[in-house]
């Protein structure tokens, strides 16, 4: 079996089974979005206007949540050392872990987005667009977060340090994600430019993320 696919499968099984917490990100996302109206009031017009922004912010925070366990558990039980000594390039192994992480945390979150959008009074027809921007943008969040996760595990620190390191780097993703979602719903700016830049950010971080994360692991854990 292809080791790349095998690693994705292993990480997904670990996340889905007991003790994994694959759906924890989606649950956190749901809770954050549900908490927002308590902070800003139940005005449906206001919620409809800032709905895409709330959904994006929730997705950003939820994708950060599970990141610090991405390498930490493997580091604790020694399987990270095996991955580093294996024949598969570390960049690929790290990318496989990130893909598995995206499939188990970001994808459920995108699936429940239309339902949450209804609660925020975002129109049903527009929800598809918001979900599409999340689909295009969350890989960038995962792969930028991958760098932070690798740095955090070499320093044996996680949690807040990870958030402090990663959040400023995700500013462009947030900007173009919300811009594309708003362009699709409210207009009048065209949807194309921000959306294609969002895709470009995802593709660029797909390259930069694994390379930087593998470098961090090699430098830090040797």
């Amino acid at each position: 079996m292809n080791p790349f696919l095998a690693l994705i499968g292993r990480d997904m099984r670990l996340a889905i089974r007991v003790g994994g917490g694959a759906l924890m990100g989606a649950l956190f996302y749901f809770t954050v979005v549900a908490m927002t109206p308590f902070a800003i009031g139940p005005d449906l017009n206001l919620l409809a206007r800032i709905g895409p922004a709330i959904l994006w912010l929730g997705a950003l925070l939820a994708s950060l949540l599970a990141l610090d366990r991405l390498f930490a558990t493997d580091h604790e039980d020694g399987s990270l050392d095996l991955l580093m000594m294996g024949t598969m390039p570390l960049e690929l192994a790290v990318a496989a872990k990130a893909i598995a992480h995206w499939l188990t945390t970001a994808l459920p979150l995108i699936v429940i987005t239309p339902v949450l959008g209804l609660m925020l009074n975002v129109e049903m027809s527009a929800m598809g667009w918001v979900a599409l921007t999340l689909l295009a943008g969350t890989p960038a969040l995962t792969f930028i977060g991958l760098i932070g996760a690798a740095l955090a595990v070499t320093l044996r620190r996680g949690g807040l340090l990870l958030a402090v390191l990663v959040l400023p780097l995700t500013v462009p993703v947030l900007i173009f994600g919300v811009a594309a979602a708003n362009a699709a719903i409210i207009g009048p700016a065209p949807f194309g430019p921000p959306f294609t830049i969002l895709c470009a950010l995802s593709l660029a971080s797909l390259v930069l993320g694994p390379v930087a994360a593998a470098a961090a692991l090699r430098q830090g854990l040797e």
Partner: protein, 243 residues
């Protein structure tokens, strides 16, 4: 003297101790001349005397960005050449760069109050400097949480490189975000070319601040080397204590 010769910290310390007094003197002289020129510079016909904040604000912004540049070069030195002083240079540059970025933000806010009527607007430039400041704080947080200097040096080097790739993207996206959300609502300087009577003092002040940066940087590098020596001496001492 080749860069590789400076790999020996003792040799580097000798050089720093020889250069630092001259650097301090040059900084003081250029600052004195620059402040004299600033005092003689005319007020802006619109902004009055508050335009003098610019002589602190603009060099602060330049050196805030240059600080990350120094860290990027140091990061390459750490990761590619494994130069022993490179991570000392990077670590020493981080708080100084953060300090200059803070000067830029603080003076900008103080300047904004009389000119724009508010301390803060979510203007593209302000926002990208703010994100740069957040990146600096993340870097400092990384240094604070790490116990082992070697480990933190490499992590910080990778973060510096990732930041160097990202900073232009952040700048670009913030510009986009700003034009999308709000048209330029504030009076911007730079519409007209700056007159020489203001530009020359500004450049002198920029030179003075650059000298200050390197003076502080050299002194901070010296302190960091001494701090590491103290650390290893303490460890050796602890090892010698009879059980």
């Amino acid at each position: 003297m080749a860069v590789i010769d400076l790999a020996n910290p003792t040799r580097f310390l000798t050089l720093v101790n020889r250069v630092l007094p001259w650097l301090i003197g040059a900084t003081a002289l250029v600052f004195a001349y620059g402040l004299y020129r600033v005092a003689g510079a005319p007020d802006d016909y619109q902004q009055g005397a508050t335009v003098k904040i610019m002589y602190l604000h603009v060099p602060g912004a330049w050196l805030g960005m240059m600080g990350w540049g120094v860290m990027t070069v140091a990061a390459l030195g750490t990761l590619v050449w494994r130069h022993p002083l490179a991570d000392v240079a990077g670590k020493a540059a981080a708080p100084i760069g953060a300090g200059f970025t803070f000067i830029c933000l603080a003076t900008g806010m103080l300047w904004g109050r009389p000119m724009w009527g508010t301390y803060w607007v979510w203007d593209a430039r302000l926002t990208s400097v703010l994100v740069l400041f957040l990146l600096y704080l993340g870097m400092l947080a990384l240094y604070w949480t790490a116990e082992d200097p070697n480990r933190s040096a490499r992590a910080a080097a990778i973060l510096a490189l990732v930041g160097a790739v990202n900073i232009p993207i952040i700048k670009f996206s913030v510009d986009w975000w700003n034009t999308l959300h709000q048209p330029a609502s504030v009076v911007r300087m730079g519409g007209a070319a700056i007159d020489a009577s203001i530009l020359v003092p500004l450049l002198i002040m920029a030179l003075a601040f650059t000298l200050l940066f390197f003076t502080l940087h050299f002194a901070a590098m010296r302190n960091e080397i001494l701090r590491r020596r103290v650390r290893s001496m303490r460890m050796m001492q602890a090892r010698e204590v009879p059980v």
